[in-house]
């Protein structure tokens, strides 16, 4: 078994214009690998668990960086670092849910390099898959984790169609909760997707975690004013307090009027391959007081349909507890 810590031989493209990057991505299609901060990329490539003929390094494209105010909210360049997202005054003021989520990703060093686009587009977490085993997601015909003896403490509770890998992004649930729009460009133009539709579960596409197609580049994230300055709650539970993935996280936005919840969006991460929006809970608490009693009444609803594996049963009470705290806070 080889063990590597140098990069494989591959072509490297370093465009500085979006248009050039799109041309290269279109030409290379499946043979190309987009990289922003590289915090997910380098592990895959250096471990040789995935390969590509060429790397398209987007980090030199200044146009993809920064936070801009728009007529209906803000637009964040996909290459904006997580540190910049966490510290941006506009985001902190209006969308503190996202700044809080970005501030707890991994470690300060990783946040200084890692980008918002990369954080939401990172591959799912499953140590079998990331070790390069030939599982369903890797094109094989079995799942190593979803077995009685599988080591699946970090894996999914929901929507586990042949794959129980979990999404570990901390910013993705926040963007879904904020009803963000993902801006995707290709040589043929621009298309947009809601954040909720950007993330793809294994039942739809087991080999990809986002709706990005070969030749496309996520260029920006737009957050509408709809949820600006709402009551937000974000919490991440991980084994370590820094440099660790979520065991479960929750991102929630509430519109409260006179102590009553008029609307909400509650999203959990690390419980399935995509951020899981808790629509049933949102509906159940609409018109209810934001209180511990309301929270307690919907806790089990939050995990309805959950299927515990051999070692991740704790995620059910953890998820319930986090949803309760989000509603109570």
């Amino acid at each position: 078994m080889p063990s590597h810590d140098v990069m494989p031989n591959m072509e490297l493209y370093q465009p500085v214009q979006v248009e050039d990057a799109l041309q290269i991505a279109d030409r290379l299609a499946e043979r190309g690998w987009l990289v922003g901060g590289g915090q997910d990329t380098y592990g895959w490539l250096k471990d040789r668990a995935k390969t590509a003929d060429a790397m398209i390094d987007l980090s030199g494209i200044e146009a993809l960086r920064g936070v801009r105010e728009t007529a209906d909210g803000i637009e964040i360049g996909a290459l904006t670092t997580l540190t910049e997202v966490a510290n941006n005054p506009v985001i902190q003021q209006r969308y503190s849910l996202l700044s809080k989520a970005a501030s707890v990703v991994a470690s300060p060093q990783i946040r200084n390099i890692g980008t918002l686009g990369g954080n939401v587009s990172q591959d799912v977490r499953c140590w079998y898959y990331r070790r390069g085993l030939s599982c369903y997601r890797a094109g094989g015909n079995l799942c190593y984790a979803d077995t009685p003896q599988g080591m699946n403490r970090e894996h999914s509770l929901f929507e586990t169609s042949r794959c129980v890998a979990a999404s570990a992004s901390d910013t993705a649930p926040a963007l879904v909760a904020l009803d963000a729009t993902m801006v995707i460009r290709s040589v043929t133009g621009e298309r947009t997707l809601s954040a909720q539709d950007y993330f793809v579960g294994p039942a739809i596409d087991i080999e990809n975690t986002t709706a990005l197609r070969p030749g496309e580049i996520l260029t920006a994230v737009r957050i509408p004013a709809t949820w600006a300055n709402a009551d937000f709650y974000f919490e991440k539970v991980s084994d370590r307090n820094v440099w660790d993935f979520s065991l479960v996280n929750v991102a929630a936005a509430f519109k409260v009027s006179g102590g009553t919840i008029s609307d909400s969006r509650i999203v959990c991460g690390a419980v399935q391959a995509t951020p899981r929006r808790l629509v049933a809970v949102e509906e159940a608490i609409r018109g209810q007081a934001r209180s511990s009693a309301t929270a307690a009444s919907v806790a089990t609803l939050a995990t309805t349909g959950a299927r515990a594996l051999a070692h991740n049963g704790y995620k059910i009470p953890l998820m319930q507890n986090l949803v309760k705290r989000a509603i109570t806070a």
Partner: protein, 814 residues
């Protein structure tokens, strides 16, 4: 009144470490050097049928391939540098490829094809002991020491792998907390007992029996080990990452099949070892021998993932303990069973675990039964307080339960049983050099505010639950019989030659202070000579087992004492009178009655050279080690030589003892806790270097958090693959997982068997911290026993939710 011992100073390599100027093994390059990389086993157990390296060898830039056939055979299961036939764990090195660049070497490895034959494997020791369970080796699952009657009654001591299976009743009994029912003496490899166990339990008013599990975990020192070797004029120059210096000489020379005199081992600095780099590790044999075969320098730098595989790891334990205590709190009986996970090299530490129990609680009677079982997992070896620390962690809440059932304060219970100067250790009930654990407990309780914290409400205003805990740590902390070597130059400077490795603890420098103290030389006029064999270093202990402070303050003191005696002899010969008429001070030797009559150290050194003989190293004591003899020969005629073997009479174990206290705020809903306060007090004799002592206390406490809460092996029982080979996956504590401030102190009573009164303390700092934290977690949860180390986030959540937090008694798994 001391001038060096007990005072802060700056070790000479600090600046280089801060600026990055200091060199680690990887930083050394040599003209013509090639880079080697390892190809390792992808499976936990199998046989290498064939190797096809033809495509790799045809690549431009590939200069050679090196297999087990190029090395002397190693009898199984000796953890060979390269697997020769059977592979017994994922990541076991099979061959090395050397190339002009690391990139070429890695690409070449991708082109090598190996045909394997798969064998059954096992990742859990109890599974292997179960009737019909798989064995890690074809020959069996346990290394058994043998002793046969040889010619003329001389015993022949050996070892062989045997297949040992337990009756199912013993497996079930252990798992269910009833002990290994039906197991007999031959089902264990370690058996010892002292006192009348039955009478002990009969006298007990409280008896607690519990199963327990501790999970092993890898080292992951910051510096992934590197070796670079080259040969010149029949000598091997070897740059290696190691905890030790002189202690490597003989073993590494054997690996290279050369006379130790032909080895120059070079180690300026090492980025951590913690027990994994005490002596030469197997793959050191590759770079040295490969360099000889290729006749060019070879550097072998392993990856972080390979550090997980071959960088050694802590052994896990599955066990059972039964403790009996009298109404006054005295522990009167302990029955302890430990099954160690030895990984593929068999290294278990059960006997040390039992030693921890015996020393920290001084039971009136005790039985220990242990066995270390091979598994097809990464080789296990020493890791900071091996055996003692994980025992401390898992034992603390169990002993809390005993105290609680007695209706006794947990701290008072520990003080009741604490070791003192009349204490003993282990199965032989051997003595200790000195021990003031009771004083450490009292001082620690005061520093922590134990009584105040006991009286504070358990429920915090923010909904979290307060837990307070206490734990003890212990490790043997000293050795005897090594050599010291100093030289006073004609420049008047004191050159302290040290064979102690620079593993990051700065003990190499701290121990040299003893020589400066004895000769009363200002530190700025001292120079530590170290880091390369050819700098003429004495025979020193390996830097493991927290021994260095005790061991080498002695050797350096004794070498300095020898120099003092020679100074006086020279002065008497030149200035009249007898040596007894002279004293030293101010870097002079002078007449006690008239200090104006004397000479400087520089002048005395010049006279030593002129006099020759013992004064300047042409002659030396017969009892010094051959390593030291060679070094004295190398220094002969260059100044006044002080050299001595540590022949200070003494007996018993020099114990390093620590008592830790921890306060946490625990949140059952998330399984998380915050460490609000941590305080620890050491009984380690006189503190040599206060700042370094405080650093050691902090560092050990941090790692204790890892042991108690975060770090563990995870192996998949389906395929034998490890799940957490990376640094981030192994989860050592980060700066946000530990308290920002911790308090530490020392009892400070001198050990009578050390000239400066010092003992070591490095290793127990982790065990006491882990124990105190586990005790605090249990306390927060009303005395609930997880009986595991680590207690992880999910276990606390599950317990709070009424789920079974610990589904089984397995090691290497979740």
């Amino acid at each position: 009144m001391t001038t060096h011992i007990g005072f802060d100073f700056t070790p000479p390599d600090i600046e280089g470490k801060v600026t990055g100027e200091i060199k680690y093994a990887e930083d050394y390059k040599r003209e013509g050097m090639v880079f080697a990389r390892l190809l390792t086993s992808p499976m936990p157990s199998g046989r290498v049928v064939s190797i096809d390296a033809s495509a790799a060898l045809r690549m431009d830039g590939v200069v050679g391939i090196f297999t087990a056939d190029d090395l002397p055979p190693v009898a199984p299961p000796g953890n060979p540098a390269l697997a020769s036939n059977y592979v017994t764990y994922v990541g076991q090195p099979i061959l090395a490829v050397a190339a002009l660049t690391e990139e070429i070497a890695e690409s070449a490895i991708d082109r090598i094809r190996i045909e394997f034959e798969r064998r059954p494997f096992v990742v859990d020791p109890l599974t292997s002991l179960t009737p019909g369970g798989a064995n890690a080796y074809p020959e069996g699952n346990v290394l058994v020491r043998t002793r046969e009657e040889g010619p003329e009654g001389a015993p022949i001591v050996g070892a062989e792998i045997r297949d040992i299976k337990w009756p199912q009743s013993a497996i079930d009994g252990l798992v269910n907390g009833k002990g290994p029912i039906g197991a007999t003496e031959e089902h264990f490899t370690d058996n010892w007992q002292f006192g009348d166990l039955d009478a002990g339990f009969a006298a007990a008013s409280v008896i607690v029996e519990e199963p327990f599990v501790t999970v092993g975990y890898p080292h992951h020192s910051l510096e992934a080990r590197t070796c670079m070797a080259y040969w010149e004029n029949g000598k091997c120059y070897f740059h290696g990452s190691s905890q030790s210096q002189s202690a490597n000489d003989n073993s590494l020379a054997r690996m290279l099949n050369i006379d130790p005199a032909d080895l120059v081992f070079i180690n300026e600095a090492t980025g951590g070892g913690f027990g994994s780099k005490i002596g030469p590790y197997p793959f050191m044999a590759i770079s040295g021998n490969f360099a000889r075969v290729l006749n060019r320098p070879v550097q072998l730098r392993i990856t972080r993932e390979q550090e997980f595989y071959i960088g050694s790891a802590r052994s896990g334990m599955q066990g059972w303990i039964k403790v009996g205590a009298k109404p006054d709190g005295k522990v009167c009986a302990v029955d302890l069973v430990i099954v160690n996970d030895g990984g593929s090299a068999g290294g278990g530490s059960g006997n040390s675990s039992a030693g921890h129990v015996s020393l920290c609680y001084q039971p009136e009677s005790m039985r220990y039964r242990g066995i270390s079982v091979y598994t097809n997992t990464t080789p296990r070896g020493a890791q900071r307080g091996p055996g003692q620390n994980e025992m401390a962690a898992v034992l603390a809440p169990i002993m809390d339960k005993v105290a609680n059932q007695l209706g006794m304060d947990r701290v008072a219970f520990r003080a009741r049983n604490a070791v003192d100067n009349n204490g003993w250790y282990g199965g032989q009930s051997g003595p200790v050099t000195s021990a003031y654990m009771r004083e450490a407990i009292a001082q620690g309780a005061e520093l922590f505010g134990w009584q105040d914290k006991l009286n504070q409400p358990k429920q915090l205003p923010d909904g979290r639950i307060r837990g307070i805990g206490v734990g003890s740590g212990y490790h043997g902390a000293g050795g005897r019989g090594y050599d010291g070597l100093v030289r006073i130059g004609t420049d008047g400077k004191l050159y302290i030659h040290s064979g102690v490795g620079n593993l990051g603890t700065y003990s190499y420098a701290g121990t040299c202070r003893a020589a400066a103290e004895r000769l009363q030389v200002p530190w700025e006029n001292c120079e530590i000579v170290r880091g390369r064999t050819d700098r003429h270093l004495p025979n020193s202990s390996g830097q493991g087992g927290s021994n260095t402070i005790f061991t080498h303050t002695k050797t350096n003191w004794l070498a300095a004492e020898d120099a003092v005696n020679k100074l006086k002899e020279i002065a008497a010969a030149d200035l009249g009178g007898s040596p007894e008429d002279y004293d030293i001070g101010g870097e002079r030797v002078f007449k006690t009655a008239d200090s104006s009559v004397g000479m400087t150290y520089a002048a005395a050194a010049q006279r030593a050279i002129e006099l020759g003989g013992k004064f300047s190293g042409q002659e030396y004591p017969d009892d010094i080690n051959p390593i030291t003899q060679r070094s004295v020969q190398g220094l002969a005629g260059t100044g006044l030589i002080g050299v001595a073997r540590d022949n200070i009479p003494g007996q018993g174990e020099p114990p390093g003892i620590l008592v830790g206290f921890c306060e946490i705020a625990l949140e059952p809903a998330t399984g998380k806790f915050e460490i609000l306060d941590y305080a620890a007090v050491a009984d380690c004799g006189v503190v040599v270097h206060p700042k370094n002592f405080a650093n050691a206390m902090r560092g050990g406490a941090v790692w204790g958090v890892g042991m108690a809460n975060l770090e563990r092996h995870v192996y998949d029982p389906q395929n034998g693959l490890p799940a957490n080979t990376g640094l981030y996956q192994s989860k050592p504590p980060t700066y946000l997982d530990i308290p920002s401030i911790s308090k530490s102190g020392a009892v400070g009573i001198a050990d009578p068997q050390n000239p400066v009164g010092a003992r070591g303390i490095g290793e127990p700092t982790q065990g006491a911290s882990a124990a105190a934290l586990q005790s605090a977690i249990s306390n927060a949860l009303d005395g609930f026993l997880f009986n595991r180390a680590p207690v992880t986030t999910d276990m606390i959540i599950s317990h709070a939710a009424g789920l079974d937090p610990v589904a089984h008694l397995k090691t290497n798994t979740f």
